[in-house]
């Protein structure tokens, strides 16, 4: 990476866990009470990468691939078995108390706000936890309230907020102490479309205007598409892909999918050069490569048998590419 000044540098990070194994059956369970068998699971194997200041990186991978373990190592919660990690000059697990002052962490599934009191009370407690100077706190509150449209909701107790409102508050809460690095663990999980867009545009703005470096884990590929300039993909504990989204798109071709609604009775119609994905009464779906076969050819071929009512063409979706990438690495 050209602008990589190595704000974050991981080298050969490895981590394995002992997991108690137990075979089914009461007898085995009783045995396990006394002599447990352990298998060692390698959660992370020789992970190395470096991220520059101001980057937005999407960290992806299937469930159980080691995403959250990496995040835990990088946020100083977990001590790895081997390897080194330097973030802003700190080793997260050694200089925990000093280091965490400079990072913000949002766990999408867990709240950091106090459930029964107004959001503003939570913010004030966080101010005291992080020892944020009053002037900085005030400036940040007014900036965040404006950017995330929080005016009306900060007076409400958290339990009365919708998930989208709550997530906006969570993000605000993790930014009160002006961290330079923000970890977002599934920030859009369970959000409706409007809230998703609001969260995304905020993260974008934050990165652009404040230069905050963002590391984002998500299963929602449209998050990645909207935000991340770079993707890190992990599977079975190893880093499998490190590059830009464009590169990924280039690798898997410029395939498109066409959905045709038709009227008339017909069996499945094969079109040379296109792969049929679905055929049902009134609807057919094909995938094709525009460089090999034009849309007009497909339509004219279909029109010979049925009456074409509607056509919809979409570029191959990033989810599909990710699945292909997973398949390539057999994870």
């Amino acid at each position: 990476m050209s602008r990589n000044n190595g704000m974050i540098r991981l080298e050969g990070i490895g981590k394995s866990f002992k997991v108690a194994t137990r075979t089914a059956g009461l007898k085995e369970a009783a045995k396990a009470l006394f002599a447990r068998k352990h298998t060692v699971v390698e959660a992370l194997k020789d992970i190395s990468f470096s991220i520059g200041e101001g980057e937005v990186v999407g960290y992806i991978g299937p469930n159980g691939a080691g995403k959250s373990t990496t995040i835990k190592v990088m946020s100083g919660i977990l001590v790895p078995d081997d390897g080194s990690c330097s973030i802003m000059g700190y080793t997260p697990w050694k200089d925990r108390a000093e280091y965490v002052k400079h990072i913000g962490v949002v766990f999408g599934q867990r709240s950091q706000l106090w459930w029964d009191v107004p959001v503003l009370d939570s913010f004030e407690l966080l101010r005291d936890i992080y020892k944020i100077p009053e002037a900085q706190y005030k400036a940040n509150i007014s900036m965040l309230t404006e950017m995330l449209a929080l005016e009306t909701i900060v007076q409400m107790p958290v339990r009365q907020l919708s998930l989208g409102q709550r997530m906006r508050c969570e993000i605000a809460a993790s930014l009160l102490h002006s961290p330079k690095l923000l970890f977002l663990d599934e920030p859009t999980i369970g959000l409706d479309a409007v809230s998703k867009l609001a969260v995304r545009s905020f993260i974008k703005k934050l990165n652009k205007e404040q230069g905050v470096t963002v590391i984002l884990t998500t299963h929602d590929m449209s998050d990645i598409e909207a935000l991340a300039s770079r993707i890190l993909m992990i599977g079975k504990g190893s880093l499998l892909y490190d590059g830009s989204l464009e590169e990924l798109k280039g690798r898997f071709g410029s395939g498109k999918t066409v959905t045709v609604d038709y009227r008339g009775e017909s069996g499945p119609i094969e079109i040379p050069g296109a792969a049929m994905l679905e055929w049902s009464a009134e609807r057919a779906v094909y995938s094709f490569d525009p460089e090999q076969l034009t849309l007009a050819e497909i339509v004219s071929r279909l029109s010979a048998f049925v009456e074409v009512v509607d056509i919809e063409v979409v570029a191959k979706d990033i989810d599909e590419m990710i699945v292909r990438l997973y398949e390539e690495h057999k994870i």
Binding site: F17, K18, T69, K72, S75, G76, I77, L78, V79, W93, R96, A97, E98, V100, K101, I103, V105, F107, R110, Q112, W114, W115, D116, V117, D121, S122, E124, L125, D128, I129, Y130, K131, P157
Partner: protein
């Protein structure tokens, strides 16, 4: 310390959101030890005294331990409820904040409904103090205060110890209740009524004796000695907290290397 009070105020605000439940719980908490105390009263009605201890003397012992216990349940509840913190993964959240984990756990929960229990024990305390002659001297009252305070630290130590086990086994260990509830039940009576082994255990292992029986001997003039002794003795109980905190640190270290 300032932060601890901030935590307290946010929890107080939360609790006040559910006022009816708060009052009912406090009311219930008032009556639980009341029953136990009723039993104590009836026992003395029948037998008159217990190994040379009069009703009010035992009641004083009882109230000191119960004051400590209710205070610790109120203020160190975070450790008592620690298993859910680990189970839900919220402990990770505490570790990404620039404060000590112990302080944050302490601040994670308060149980203000224990005010009921506190009130009940307070009443028994005042009642027995006012019925015992010669207690109204400054050093004696101060010693009693020290006893309650250090008793609070001992209970807190047990809570911390129990919480530490959660790092190895996620389920809350009922074993710990043997020492909190059990310790409370044992130490509310003068320790000399028990077997030698039990007395030793509660003097040297979990030093409840230091905050109830032993200083009370001096305070109630059952043993001759300098008043300095009962004033210092309770702080022996506080020593118990030191190994607890050390073990806690080992636990946190273990957690951070296994993540379980």
């Amino acid at each position: 310390m300032r932060l601890y009070f901030k935590y307290m105020s946010i929890h107080l605000k939360s609790q006040m959101q559910y006022r009816t439940s708060f009052f009912l719980m406090s009311f219930g908490q008032f009556f639980i030890p009341f029953m136990v105390f009723g039993g104590l009263y009836l026992m003395f009605e029948r037998f008159g005294q217990l190994k040379g201890w009069s009703f009010f003397e035992v009641a004083l012992c009882f109230s000191v331990i119960h004051l400590s216990f209710s205070l610790s349940e109120c203020f160190a509840r975070g450790f008592d409820a620690f298993s859910s913190l680990v189970g839900k993964g919220d402990f990770d959240r505490l570790l990404v904040r620039p404060r000590s984990a112990a302080l944050q756990v302490l601040g994670s929960k308060f149980e203000f409904t224990r005010i009921g229990r506190l009130l009940q024990s307070g009443i028994v305390f005042i009642w027995s103090v006012s019925n015992l002659p010669g207690l109204w001297t400054f050093p004696k009252l101060l010693a009693l205060l020290f006893m309650v305070f250090n008793g609070l630290l001992i209970f807190t130590g047990i809570f911390i110890l129990a919480a530490t086990f959660c790092f190895w086994t996620i389920q809350a260990l009922e074993v710990a209740n043997v020492f909190t509830d059990g310790g409370r039940e044992m130490a509310q009576y003068p320790l000399n009524i028990y077997e030698k082994g039990v007395t030793r255990f509660f003097t040297f292992i979990i030093p409840f004796g230091c905050v109830s029986y032993l200083p009370l001997m001096y305070i109630l003039d059952k043993r001759e000695g300098d008043m300095l002794l009962p004033l210092l003795m309770p702080f022996g109980g506080a020593l118990f907290l030191i190994p607890c905190l050390l073990i806690w640190r080992i636990g946190v270290k273990h957690y951070r290397s296994t993540g379980s």
